[in-house]
Symmetry: C2
Subunit: 333 residues, 2 copies
């Protein structure tokens, strides 16, 4: 686990979008974000206190989190200067960049000398077991999508937050870099070796109280030929009790695959449920989460109503409407 | 690619079963096996010429292949002595053992000094791309199983051999250690990183002549919760034109999963085809390959006839009956 709270490093992020990871931390775990560190030319602003390394240290920050996508795929010398200083001041550093911290000799040396830890959350840090398929106690919910990047993580985070708000037992279980940095732990599933994928998901979602819900972050799509194997491992390793169907209605083709159409929600429901029943015959589809960000409010509401009527399942945009009805639906199963 | 032909190293294999990999090479690629090397106490015998390293060198062997599972998971000092001598004499070494050749300092040093190559076929040697899903030329056949280890590799090898015998264009495409050692190349799919699984299968089965068939080695099962993600990547990365259903009728539960029943052949057909149609809408189930090794000849023939009648598909045990009818079936598609 990465130690919280964090100082959010925005570096010289050209714009707000480049600081997506930091924004996610600030939105979902504001208590983890004591401040932001911006360099000259930074075009992003989270609206939280700007802090020097010393300010952040005094405010109790334990880890500097690189909350920004870097330019050109490398950790620049300007960044490195700040990062080395942070290690010297006693911060750990966590990053989801492709350019690994551990591949930078200066950072490795500074971490060693100062007894600090570098967390490359893109790389598994655990030797996961092979899945054993044994039934676990507690409840699990998984969002599966008609495509990649349709709001599965957001849905899981929103359902977890709603359950926390109601005082119910609930944990969000990240399976990607952003989720891991937001919560401080998880499994970078797309970087796990094939034989251990389902076992990594079992490891992530262990036995729990009978009334506890894990909200497992989905990845890929059964219908996305590049990543469907990862999705399958989530369905079988996660042995979900509830599935949420996730969809983005304005997509014209599968992400990155111009020759591939999106499946219907009906096809997703049928394939997802058939596969989920192998690991958990009691699994049910509880609701539908639609990302309507590219629709007007009127269009969105009309679309949601049409889908709800057609599919006979609670259908919401969790960003516009919250996750209350989806939580109601899984609790009613 | 591993250089052929091979000297098959049986070491001190306690019995014939421990020499399964060597047996596979001798059965399927006898032209690759110039001789066997046995140490004191070896209980296995392939029925080919016993050779010293010098004999094998003189007979043209290029690579020493470790064709045996080792005891206790380590490469013993007695083995190492032979392997170092082989490197000094100019052999490459290939192995599918968990105990990697590259983790043995003595072997690494001897390979470097003598300019030889160590092939650990369990570990990918290529940075595979992410799958792009583009339709490729040529035809592909994949066996999918009701369970793991039901004869998928054997089926693919037998169909390839039958096509070769008929003078047709055909290639067996290994996805596991044994197949890679038998043919000298392939992808160790269960050791590939999740995001690149389907891309590795695309890499393994590139564009080819319109009348050429790849026989892709299957792995796992859509119904085996530990490995289903690997199977899914084969179905989507391989974009098969033909599926063969593979089954072992005496299994009482899924391999290694006592709580899990085997699916019916109907369920395998329906799930497999639904998933295959995502990558290739023209895919068809061509036939059924049953491993009847635990049945008498009479039982086996009765069972095969019953399944053929029920499923309406050519149903054979390729070991007892050859793969002729399955090849006829894919050619007739």
């Amino acid at each position: 686990m990465i130690q919280t709270p964090y100082l959010l490093f925005l570096g010289d992020a050209p714009d707000q979008l480049a600081a997506k990871v930091a924004q996610g931390i600030k939105d979902w775990r504001p208590e983890n974000a004591v401040g932001q560190f911006r360099m000259e030319g930074c075009g992003a602003d989270l609206g939280i206190t700007d802090m020097s390394l010393a300010d952040a240290k005094a405010a109790g920050a334990k880890t500097l989190v690189i909350g920004v996508a870097n330019r050109g795929g490398v950790i620049s010398d300007a960044w490195k200067k700040v990062l080395v200083e942070a290690l010297q001041m006693g911060f750990d550093i966590a990053s989801g960049l492709h350019n690994l911290l551990r591949d930078e000799d200066e950072l490795v040396a500074a971490a060693r000398v100062n007894g600090r830890t570098l967390f490359d959350v893109r790389i598994p840090s655990v030797a996961y077991p092979i899945a054993n398929g044994k039934k676990r106690t507690g409840k699990r919910c998984l969002a599966i999508g008609t495509d990649c990047s349709v709001g599965k993580m957001y849905t899981g985070m929103a359902m977890d937050a709603e359950m926390q708000k109601r005082g119910l037992k609930s944990t969000f279980r990240p399976t990607g870099q952003t989720g891991i940095l937001i919560t401080g732990g998880g499994v970078p599933l797309d970087a796990v070796i094939a034989d251990f994928m389902a076992g990594a998901v079992e490891y992530l979602t262990p036995d729990n109280d009978p009334d506890h819900w894990d909200h497992i972050e989905g990845q890929g799509s059964l219908f996305h030929v590049s990543y469907s194997g990862v999705t399958m491992a989530l369905i079988h390793g996660g042995q979900p009790d509830a599935l949420i169907l996730a969809h983005e209605p304005t997509r014209t083709h599968m992400r990155g695959l111009p020759e591939y159409d999106l499946p219907s929600l009906e096809a997703l429901r049928d394939s997802g449920l058939a596969m989920a029943h192998i690991a958990n015959p009691a699994c049910k589809v509880a609701g539908i989460s639609v990302n309507t960000q590219h629709m007007s409010e009127d269009e969105a509401l009309a679309y949601l109503a049409e889908v709800e009527d057609r599919m006979g399942l609670p259908t919401v945009d969790t960003y516009r409407q919250g996750a209350g009805r989806l939580v109601d639906a899984i609790l009613a199963l």
